[in-house]
Every structure is written in structure tokens, then in C-alpha cells.
Point group: C3
């Protein structure tokens, strides 16, 4: 209980996170360039998961950090476990969480990670096992803070009731075109649109730090929408706003997410430093209220 | 906090509200007749919004009230802002709320409105701005009470957490044929029907006063169902019950809403005094339990 | 209030309940054999409803219990009212609840039932009437505990707020193939699957005892899935696991429900003692984490 009340760093100043999912097979020099570029841009929050590149992403990252001579304490490292790729299940057992986190630290070549997220909810989770795993990892200094991913507000409430540590992070898919979490509020009670819960409102009410994964996807692991001829209207508006704000279309797309007062942290998964620079332009602009709504409507949604 | 606990008048005795959306272009004599008829029927609650007739509805209403010599304190006036028709956005900024409410009072030619509803949720709302606007309007005596419209229970909870005033009103679309808010409870867990939340249950649990707009619409801004050949079954049942209760079919349709123990206030938007009289017959009947269910089923829904 | 805090027996050791819906027209000897078999298997929890066989199921059950000479105190009897078959409505009026429960006791030839469930939610329910009915039935010793059926978490919360007795039971349809209550959590925010609420999570958070009806149905009152050629994949996996655990496919299907940590009680409605024996094998096995997920996926759902 004392632990639960302990405040958790939310790193609110870090609104862009470098997602390291796809660096596994990149040449080390490219990865070093990417990381150095991120740091130069003020991005020092890095997102991993034990399954990215089957663990190789974390290894490559560690090598790059080492070769760049970056001080561990100057960066924030987040990783995830809970999806068991070998068995095709979600697994929140004590053994699995501890073993996987131990391997994460080995691969990352670090004594601790700042945040451990449980990747997707194990329907069979035993709260005592999760709790014991977290106590173990926290007491050993292996994990500084815990969070969730791809979970609804009710699932968050359930876990928080039984887990002794604050669960203040939730990483969910969210983009201009995969925006059900916003649509739920704007298109309420119309009889056409249905959503599972109101996570954005819940997060604002309960000080949950949301993170948005796949900010450029048009749907659940579907095509990127930027410069995609399937989506002419949204691209036309993105072009217009890119010109207006003098930034890239990627930056506009991220700025659209950042403009929401829930204060998302956006996980960007590019492996190219030039693209990262273009995306990071989002940090320096704020879309106007009008532009935010125009972009929302251009993405194919209606305002009733 | 002291303010938040202050009790709010809910005007529970006023179960029919005259909606003034469509009076903008009516001759003043017709509007006067309509208002006088409402008052004669015991209806002294009037619903407006800044966007109805682009403001003209409020002006015409004020003129009629003035010419009729009606005492301001004898009627309840509600209006709404938050939909910015000019920009096609929803806007809960402090400036917008204060400016629009100021214009509402000017057009209505009154010192205050009894209730101000925020029309549709601005996804980008800043609670401090809403709160400051409300304090300003309340302290100046311009608004007596505040409420919401077209918002889910989670959205209501979020706003109530941050706003210092009670938010006890929520005006949502609801009719015999746009009845998802009831269907949600009756058709739970069937795998076919899906709803966003359980607003009726939330309202009963938390003493929220719901208001039903478009009580005769068959869907979101779709055809009126009464005497509509597209809906023979419900009209047959309405005919039967109109005969049985010796009232109009409109009255039966409204009585169906009023019969629900959540105690809706029904906003009726007719501009014809003869039709208003027919509708207001609903105040004097109570559908039997059996008739309520039969009508629900005749409207095309099943009971599992 | 004192009453509300009184603890309610949840009979957690009884994870299989014999559902008596279809015994109405069975020969008394068959019913006696069925009940004796249940007791021999450690199943002494029996589920009824006033509408099963139009009351005849309860009568046949009472006759069998009497002829078998079974001590009333050695068994748990649950029944339900609230669906008014005569009028085709749901009815939670005080009169209806008391009258129907009185008739239930007469038919069951017993002084009390252990649990009374309200069968489906009456949209028009008046909490005072329900409360008064419950006080009457409790004070007369006619009902030991109360619960609900086919209700969402929000509906449960609403009723619990106004009813003086703990409402800790909720009987809902749930099976390997009618599994929206699990899908909701596993397929959150994908834009494809939608659910009304998160009842399993709510139940775990609030110590609600869920009961699963129709554990072999493929949908809302749709075909049984076991040995159904329409569902080859799930049957193939059931065959495999039946072999592995050396039990029937029915037992595997029930074990799949029992494996969930919400700790369902499964209502099985077979009228054949041989089939009951096969089903009850579920009590003696526990599916592995892997098998549970494999079966879930074989039933046609995806893990994102």
C-alpha cells in the first residue's frame, strides 16, 4: 500500500519515444546514427519488447549504446513481456515475467529498465503471480516502474486493485486513422459507431499516461496512410498543413496525436534518422484547434 | 467544492420541454400562439441552442415572450453552446463559451438563462478553460446551472471530476426507434447488439437528469416514424394504443419515453400549437407495463 | 445497510451446477437417476426458473427429491423469476416477485430456496418494489440470498446501489464459442470486435460469482458446437484434448470455462446421467495454459 502510493515518473516531457521494434536487422552504424539523432533531437526514451526481432532488437540497441558511450542514466528504457511468441499465448505467470525480464536485461546489457509493460492481457492471469513477479523485479532493482499495454480501462482498474505498484502507463494503438478511442466520444449514441470503452476519458480522469503505437497505420496492422493513394482526402489535408506549418506530413500526423489533451507519448518506429528528424518536427508545432478538427474530418470521420 | 455540492434544480415536474429549434422562420403570431399554448399546457421549460436558426430562434422567442408579456421568472430557459457552426468544430474554450453565452443572452433579451448545456464534447477541451468560463458566467449571474449533451457516462464522470459545478443534465437522442440506450440493457451479451455504455443505468445510479431529443425520429436524423409506411408494425401498435388511451400517436410515443423510470424530460420540437396539444396529452397518461413492452417489441426489437 | 454487508455464501466449491430446465417431461425414474448421479458426483447445486417447463420442471424435481429421500439441507436450490412468459415482458414488480417466488416454493415443495435470481432486467424496474419484495422474502425465510442474471456490470452496480441485499451472483451465457466476455479483453481496440462491457474483469474486481449458462451453445440459442460439422477446427482440437486428458469433449469444453480465474460456476442442462458423468470429468482436470489458448484460437478467434 505504501508502494502503491509512491509516485511514478511519467516522463511527460518526452512526448516522442523511439520505438526499436525494427532495428534488429539494421547495420550497427545505422542504429548508432539513429540513436544519436534521437538524442540530438531531445528524444531519450526508447521502447522495446522482448519479442521485437526475437530479442535481437534489444541486443543491437545495447551494442549501439555501448559504442556510442552513452550514459545509462541519461536515457529511459522501456521494454515489454507477456506475449509468449513460442507458444502463441499471453503469459503473465511469475516465472515467465521474471525469466523474460532477466533476459531483457541481459540483452540490453543493463542493470535495470525504467519501465516494464505487460504487452497484452493474459486472460488467465493470477494477480498474486504478477504481484510477486513485480515485487521481485522491483526489490532487485531490475525494474523501476510497471505499466500495461493494449488494455481497456476496466482491465486497468482490475489489475490496479490487486497489484501493489502503480500502473500508470498504457500503450495502445492510436493514429489519425485508427482513432476509435476518440471516435467513441465524438460519435456517441448515433447507433452506427461502437466502441469498447472510453479510455481517453478514463486516462484524463485518472492520470494515466497513454502511449500511442503505430501512429501512421490506417488500421490494425494495416497500411501506412501517409502518401497512400487509398486515402486521398487525408493526404490532401496533410499536404496542406505540412506546407502551412513548414514540417513533414509525418510531423503533422504526430502533432495531431500530441494535440489531444490526454497528452499521449507517441512511439515512432522508424529506423531512418532522416525520417526521425522529419517526425520530430512535431515537437515544435501545435496544431490549431481548427486544423485538428479539419484533419479528423479529412480522415473520413464525421462530426455529428 | 462548496459550489459542487450545491444542489441543482432538476425541474423534475417539467417532463415535456418545448424545443425551439425550428421557430426561427415562423411568423411571430404563430410563435406566440405556440408559446402561449405551451404555458397553458403547463409546459414552461424552453430549450434553445446558439446554432438554432443561426441564432434567429432565440431572437424570435424573445420577441414573442416580450409581446406576450410573460414574466421571465415564470419560465425556464435552457440554451447550448459548444458547436461552432462557422468552423465546423466543437469548441469548449473559455473565450468561445463566454462569448457565445453573452450573445445568447443578448438574443434572448434576458439577464440569465437557467441552464447552459455544452452541446457536443470538444475532444480538445481544457478543463481549466471550461471551469473558468463557468465561474465567470455563474458569478455574473448569467447562468444558473450547467449541463452536458450527447455525452457518455465516462465523459460525464471526467468532466464532473474537474468542473466545480454540478453537471446533472445530459440531453441525448432517444426515441422508441432510436433506443440503443435501452437496448443495451435488454439485449446484453447476445453477440448481436452492441452499445457504447449504459447511460440510463448510470443516470439512475447517479441522479442525472436526462433529456431526450428527437423523440419521433427513427434514427440519427432519420425519418419520423409516426405514420411512416416504412414502419407498419410500430404504427399499428401506436394506432391501437392511441385508441385505448384516447390520445394521439405522438402522445403515446412520448408516453413511452416518460414511462421509463429514469424520468426523461422529453424535448418536443413541433412549431404547431395543435400538434403540441396532441403531444402534451402524454402528460396525463401512463402506459401500462404491458403496453410499454408491446410497443418496444413492435418497434422491431426483440426480447431475448 | 447492516444487511448489505452480511456475507453471502457463494458456494465456490460447487463449480458445476445441474440445470433443470429440461427435466419437465422426463419420466420420474430418469430424473431420480439424474439427481442421484449428480449427488454421487459431488454436484449438489440445482438451478431452476419459474418458466422452465412452465413450472413443471420444479414439480418433477421436488417429486424426485422426495422419492429419493434427500435431505433439503444437503442441497442448494436456486430458482429465478422476472420473465413473465404469459405477457411476454420482464417484470420486477413487488407483486410479481413475491407471487412467483411463492409459487416456486410450492412447486419445489420446500420452505426456502437458497438463491433467487432475477432472470432478465426489467427496464421499468422500481427499486423500492424490488427491495420490498426481497425484504419480504428474506424476512419470511423464503429466500436466503439474491442475485441477477443476464445483466451488465453497470446494471449490477445500479441495482446494488438501491437494493439492501448483496447481489453477488450473475448468470450469463458463456461458452467456448459464445465468448464475447473474454474476447472483449483479448481483442481490445482493434476496431473490429466490440463488446458492451468487461463483465469478467468487473467480477474479478468486485468478487461477483458468475454462472455460465449454455456452456455448449455456439451462439445465442444456436446449435451445440460439439460434434457439429459446422465447426471442424474446434472439434478437432477438442478431440485431441479429450484424448490427452482422457475425458469427454464435453468435459474439455467445461474445463475451458472453469480454467478462467473468474471462477465460473457452469450450469449444465443435460437430462442424461451418462452424459452428466462425462461432463463432470471436468471437475478433475485443469487445462494447461497452453491448451486453454489453443482451444480459444481453434474456436475461431484470433490473438492479436
Amino acid at each position: 500500500m505504501i508502494i502503491k502510493r509512491r509516485s511514478t515518473m511519467l516522463y511527460r516531457d518526452q512526448n516522442i519515444i523511439l520505438g526499436c521494434m525494427r532495428i534488429a536487422d539494421k547495420p550497427i552504424e545505422e542504429v548508432k546514427d539513429l540513436i544519436q539523432t534521437a538524442l540530438d533531437l531531445g528524444i531519450n526514451f526508447f521502447d522495446h519488447a522482448n519479442i521485437y526481432g526475437q530479442g535481437k532488437s534489444e541486443k543491437v540497441f545495447a551494442k549501439a549504446i555501448d559504442e556510442l558511450g552513452i550514459d545509462r542514466s541519461s536515457i529511459i528504457i522501456q521494454s515489454k513481456c507477456g506475449i509468449d511468441a513460442k507458444t502463441g499465448t499471453y503469459n503473465f505467470s511469475k516465472t515467465h515475467i521474471i525469466e523474460e525480464t532477466t533476459k531483457i536485461l541481459e540483452r540490453l546489457n543493463t542493470d535495470y529498465i525504467d519501465i516494464l509493460l505487460l504487452h497484452r492481457p493474459d486472460a488467465l492471469m493470477d494477480f498474486r503471480e504478477v504481484n510477486e513477479a513485480f515485487h521481485y523485479l522491483f526489490d532487485k532493482g531490475m525494474v523501476k516502474a510497471f505499466g500495461l499495454s493494449n488494455q481497456s480501462s476496466t482491465q486497468m482498474e482490475m489489475m490496479q486493485k490487486y497489484i501493489d505498484f502503480p500502473l500508470r502507463f498504457n500503450q495502445v494503438q492510436f493514429s489519425l486513422m485508427h482513432s476509435q478511442l476518440i471516435d467513441a466520444g465524438l460519435q456517441y449514441n448515433m447507433g452506427t459507431f461502437h466502441s469498447q470503452d472510453f479510455l481517453l476519458e478514463y486516462a484524463r480522469t485518472n492520470q494515466i499516461q497513454l502511449q500511442a503505437w503505430s501512429p501512421f497505420f490506417s488500421g490494425f496492422f494495416e497500411d501506412i496512410f501517409i502518401d497512400n493513394p487509398k486515402f486521398p482526402e487525408v493526404n490532401e489535408k496533410l499536404d496542406e498543413l505540412a506546407l502551412k506549418y513548414d514540417v513533414s506530413k509525418e510531423a503533422i500526423s504526430v502533432a495531431w496525436i500530441l494535440r489531444h489533451p490526454v497528452n499521449f507519448q507517441v512511439v515512432v518506429g522508424t529506423t531512418r534518422s532522416d525520417r526521425l528528424k522529419k517526425i520530430a518536427q512535431a515537437k515544435h508545432i501545435q496544431l490549431s484547434h481548427q486544423d485538428w478538427y479539419d484533419l479528423y474530418k479529412a480522415s473520413g470521420k464525421i462530426l455529428p
